[in-house]
Each structure stands twice: as structure tokens, then as C-alpha cells.
């Protein structure tokens, strides 16, 4: 197994705050690797260390077999990085931005033109190639930024929340592009606040306060969800969880989800009609109950709720 990214016991502090507190992981070539975590969990810091923009305080990181400290220049020519904030030139056109980055990476003119044509088609930005970046919609900006990271055909892509602020349709298109890139053999490390996107990854890392909370394939992580989970719904209204109400015994977690309520039961012996009776006093509009399998969002909420209590 060839590993494109190898991280060993990484630590990083910012003014006394632990951004990373002992993270270790290995990402194999061709993997679509997802990073999830609460805000401030350390995702951007991890990406910045891998992309050689920031040095760790302790530990090591290797990308494409090269050390991020000693061989940072070599690494930079082999990777692509898309930071959280749109960082291209607003007053340059789509085409001009791509040419600029091609030149920065030393892509030869003939090769550059061929790659640009391919990328413009791939990202469906060809009809807008002369439009200035500032006049692009959010989704189009992200596609442009992605294209600029690909212009020098990197082996590894690091994407920091690339679909934030992007509408659902454009998000769907963006992920279709990522899947094509993965099929071409590019290793992709992507942080995302969208749990449905997290499920599309080959492997996931849940970071919390700079530490690894969970690491593995999405379905394997979901299999570790400890409670039976139920969806409570009403045909007539969106249900809301009442605040400052004591939870009945046997309920571990209760939270809104897409107009319904999810209930995780610590008492695993109750049948559905019994659970509904238990819930009715605090949720009078509840009408029906259905057992469901947890999704990544449910797992995330469970993990963070655990952390709050401990």
C-alpha cells in the first residue's frame, strides 16, 4: 500500500491553544479522505501543515513520500490546495486566473493551453471564460478555484470546505467532478461541514479539539453508533424540541432533523409505541415513529454530545 499522506503525532499550538494535539493517520494513494469536526477542531490547521504553509510544533508529516519541512518546495509542485476563502484574483477573468496559475507552476505554454481547454470543459466554465472572477456565482467561483488547483496535474488535492456557500445544485456538480478526479487516481483530502458529503468519502476523520475522535470508513464508523435511533414525525407540522424540559428516562439524545425529531434511546428495550407514549408529553404534536439507521450527522451529534458531558 502506498501512502500519499503520513502524519505522525502532530501538535500545533496557537497562542497557547491546542489546534492539533497528537494527530496520527495515513492516507493511501487514490483515497477520497474526509475531515469533519466542529469549528476550531483543527481541520484547517491539519490541511495547512500538509500543504507546507504552516510548520507543526511537534511530530511529522510526509506528503508523496516527502517531508513537509525539509522538502516543502518539492511537495508544493505536486499538490493542489484550495483554501476556505476564495483566494483568486477577482479582477482577472476565468481564463486569466487559470493562465496565471499555470505560469506560476511553470506549466509549458503548449501543455497549458491543452490543460486549460480540458479544465474549462470539465468544470463547465468554458462559456464564462472571459467573465471576471468577481462576477461569478458562488458555485462557479469554487469550480474556478478547483480548476486552478488542477492546472499543474497534482497527485494530491487538499480542499478546505470547498462547497461552503454553494447551492445544492452546484454542490452536486462539484462532487461529480471530485469523483471523476478520484477515478483518475488523484488523492483528495477534503474538509466539509456537510455530513451528506462526508458519507461520500472513502475514509473519514472526526477531529475534536485537535484530537482524533474517530477514523475509518463511513459505514464502519456508523456501525459503532451505540443507540437504537428513531424518527418522530408529524404529518401536519415541523416538530421542534421543547427547551428546558427534563428528558424522560431512557432517552439519550433528542434533536431536530429535517422537520422531524430524532430520538436515540439509551433504554434499548422499549418498543416503538412505548417510545411514542414516552415522548408525547414533551412533544404533543408527534404522530408517528419509525426506526432508522444513523447517518453521519447523527454520529456527529452523538460524538459531540458525549464530549460536552465529559
Amino acid at each position: 500500500m502506498v501512502y500519499d499522506i503520513e502524519i505522525t503525532d502532530l501538535y500545533k499550538n496557537y497562542s497557547g491553544e491546542h489546534a492539533l494535539a497528537g494527530v496520527s493517520l495515513s492516507i493511501p494513494k487514490g483515497c477520497l479522505f474526509g475531515l469533519v469536526g466542529a469549528d476550531g477542531a483543527g481541520k484547517s490547521t491539519l490541511l495547512r501543515i500538509c500543504t507546507t504553509l504552516v510548520a507543526a510544533d511537534k511530530g511529522s508529516a510526509r506528503v508523496c513520500g516527502l517531508d513537509t519541512v525539509k522538502d516543502f518546495l518539492k511537495i508544493r509542485s505536486q499538490i493542489g490546495y484550495m483554501p476556505q476563502k476564495f483566494s483568486l484574483y477577482q479582477d482577472l477573468s476565468v481564463r486569466e486566473n487559470m493562465q496565471f496559475f499555470a505560469d506560476l507552476f511553470g506549466v509549458k505554454p503548449k501543455e497549458r493551453d491543452a490543460r486549460m481547454a480540458r479544465l474549462l470543459e470539465f468544470s463547465r466554465l468554458a462559456p464564462f471564460q472571459d467573465r471576471r472572477a468577481r462576477n461569478l456565482s458562488g458555485g462557479m467561483k469554487q469550480k474556478l478555484a478547483l480548476s486552478c488547483t488542477l492546472i499543474h496535474t497534482p497527485a494530491v488535492l487538499f480542499l478546505d470546505e470547498p462547497t461552503t456557500g454553494v447551492d445544492p445544485v452546484s454542490r452536486k456538480e462539484f462532487w461529480a467532478i471530485l469523483k471523476e478526479l478520484k477515478n483518475q487516481g488523484i488523492t483528495i483530502v477534503i474538509s466539509t461541514p456537510y455530513m451528506d458529503e462526508a458519507h461520500l468519502c472513502d475514509e473519514l476523520l472526526f477531529l475534536h479539539k485537535g484530537k482524533v475522535m474517530m477514523l475509518g470508513k463511513p459505514d464502519e464508523l456508523l456501525a459503532q453508533y451505540p443507540y437504537p435511533l428513531f424518527k418522530i414525525s408529524s404529518s401536519s407540522s415541523t416538530l421542534t424540541v421543547p427547551k428546558s424540559v427534563a428528558l424522560p428516562n431512557g432517552i439519550a439524545l433528542i434533536y431536530p432533523e429535517g422537520g422531524n425529531i430524532h430520538v436515540a434511546m439509551s433504554n434499548k428495550n422499549l418498543r416503538e409505541n412505548e417510545i411514542l407514549s414516552l415522548i408525547k408529553p414533551i412533544l404533543p404534536k408527534a404522530e408517528s415513529i419509525e426506526k432508522i439507521g444513523p447517518k453521519i450527522e447523527d454520529l456527529f451529534i452523538y460524538l459531540l454530545s458525549e464530549k460536552k458531558e465529559s
Binding site: L136, S137, G139, V169, G258
Partner: protein, 243 residues
């Protein structure tokens, strides 16, 4: 019926390009109204007109009872606006940003300190008051931005993608706060790309290419499009709308 927000064929053109095309929206006091659409559909332009920040090309609108063409300063004192790009001062402390915004919205010293305390507690900012704003993670800056928009207890809160990249737990906390504001009578006019959040709205509208393509409750839109989730309904409406 007195609407909190009401528009009549509201239109905005930039040269030959029509960004907002004869939209009709009526929002009741205390309603949580989700204003959705694909990127570039015209939502931010529409919100700017409603806040009195941009002059319409044609049509009309009233916000908090005042005309959006002629009475924009009266509107501005009654609304709070949280924009996509927050206008917080990154080198000021959290407390200083709150004081600045409270003062800008006309709160006197005593009211201001009281409201800062209330908002800090409600949004979990108490421990962060002395911290430098620019040093906070994105999600905390967004909470601060919401606090600043709400200090003067506006009648209507305009939230332009308030939760951005914030994690699911923090987003739920945001929405609990928004729901409690709505229950207190504040009208919430919000744009979001998180379709699970749009489910918390009483009604939503979907803009496509400057026009309103659909406007109804989340449940009705799901039923009409035979979808289980609002995400699927949104995709059906937007992709079906010839995008």
C-alpha cells in the same frame, strides 16, 4: 393584514441584465421565511433592496411598514442585517465589536451593556468577550455577527447565509435561537444553502434566474414534488426549471 415584508413586482436591472424579475413576496410578523435559490439567482440583490441598501428599478416594497424606495432610513433602524461577508472588525475584541454595533444602532450605554450581557449568554459568547475577533474560528465569528445584528431588538432580522460552514451541532443551536426570536415576534428573513435548515422555516421561496419559481411551506413543497427531503424537492424544482 399587515405584513412585515411585502413586495409588488419588485425588479432590479443592471444594464440589460435583470437580476430580480417582478417578485411578489409577503411575510407576516414573526414568520421565519426562507429565501432560497441557486447561486446567482438574485437573492442577495433582492435582500439588499428590502434593506434599503439598493434602489429598485421598478415595482414596490414595504418593510416594517415603510417604503423601500422613499423611507430607507426608517427601515434601517428597525431591521438587523447579517451579511454573507460579515462586517466585523477583526482587530477589535468581541466586546468591542458588540459595543460598536450597539452604539451604531442607537442603544444608550445602560441598554447596551445589558443587551451585550443578554446576547453573550444566549449565543455562548461570554468567555470570548475579551478575545480578538479575527483570532476566532469562523463559526464563532458568525455567532458574534448574529449578536451584533440583534442587539437593538429589530422587528425583522435579515440573515444572508448565517450559518455558512458551521458544524451541525452549532447550526442547530443557531436555529434554536432563531426560532425563539421568531416566537418573541421577530420576523426572520433568511437565505441558506443548507436544505435541512430550510425545514425550520414556516414558508420558503425558491428563486431561479431572478424569478420566484415556488413559494410554500417546506412540507407542501415536498408533497408537491413527491420528495422526502427538502433537498430533493429543491433539486427537482431548480433542475426541472431548466437550469
Amino acid at each position: 393584514m399587515n405584513y412585515s415584508i411585502e413586495t409588488n413586482d419588485l425588479t432590479k436591472k443592471f444594464g440589460s441584465y435583470t437580476a430580480v424579475d417582478h417578485i411578489n413576496v409577503s411575510v407576516k410578523q414573526g414568520e421565519i421565511f426562507g429565501f432560497l435559490g441557486a447561486n446567482g439567482a438574485g437573492k442577495t440583490t433582492a435582500i439588499r433592496m428590502l434593506c434599503g441598501l439598493l434602489t429598485p428599478t421598478s415595482g414596490s416594497g414595504h418593510v416594517a411598514g415603510f417604503d423601500i424606495m422613499k423611507e430607507t432610513s426608517k427601515i434601517r433602524s428597525r431591521i438587523g442585517y447579517m451579511s454573507q461577508k460579515f462586517s466585523l472588525y477583526p482587530d477589535l475584541a468581541v466586546r468591542e465589536n458588540l459595543r460598536l454595533y450597539g452604539s451604531l444602532y442607537g442603544l444608550d450605554k445602560n441598554d447596551l451593556e445589558r443587551r451585550i450581557t443578554e446576547m453573550s449568554v444566549q449565543l455562548g459568547l461570554v468567555d470570548l468577550l475579551p478575545r480578538i475577533t479575527g483570532s476566532l474560528p469562523w463559526g464563532w465569528q458568525q455567532r458574534l455577527s448574529l449578536a451584533c445584528a440583534n442587539l437593538h431588538k429589530p422587528q425583522i432580522l435579515f440573515l444572508d447565509e448565517p450559518t455558512g460552514s458551521v458544524d451541525p451541532l452549532s447550526r442547530r443551536n443557531f436555529w434554536e435561537l432563531i426560532q425563539s426570536l421568531s416566537e418573541e415576534g421577530t420576523t426572520i428573513f433568511v437565505t441558506t444553502h443548507h436544505m435541512d435548515e430550510a425545514e425550520y422555516c414556516h414558508r420558503i421561496s425558491i428563486m431561479i434566474n431572478g424569478k420566484i419559481a415556488a413559494i410554500d411551506s417546506p412540507q407542501a413543497l415536498k408533497d408537491q414534488n413527491r420528495c422526502d427531503t427538502l433537498l430533493d424537492a429543491f433539486l427537482a424544482i431548480v433542475e426541472g426549471g431548466g437550469r
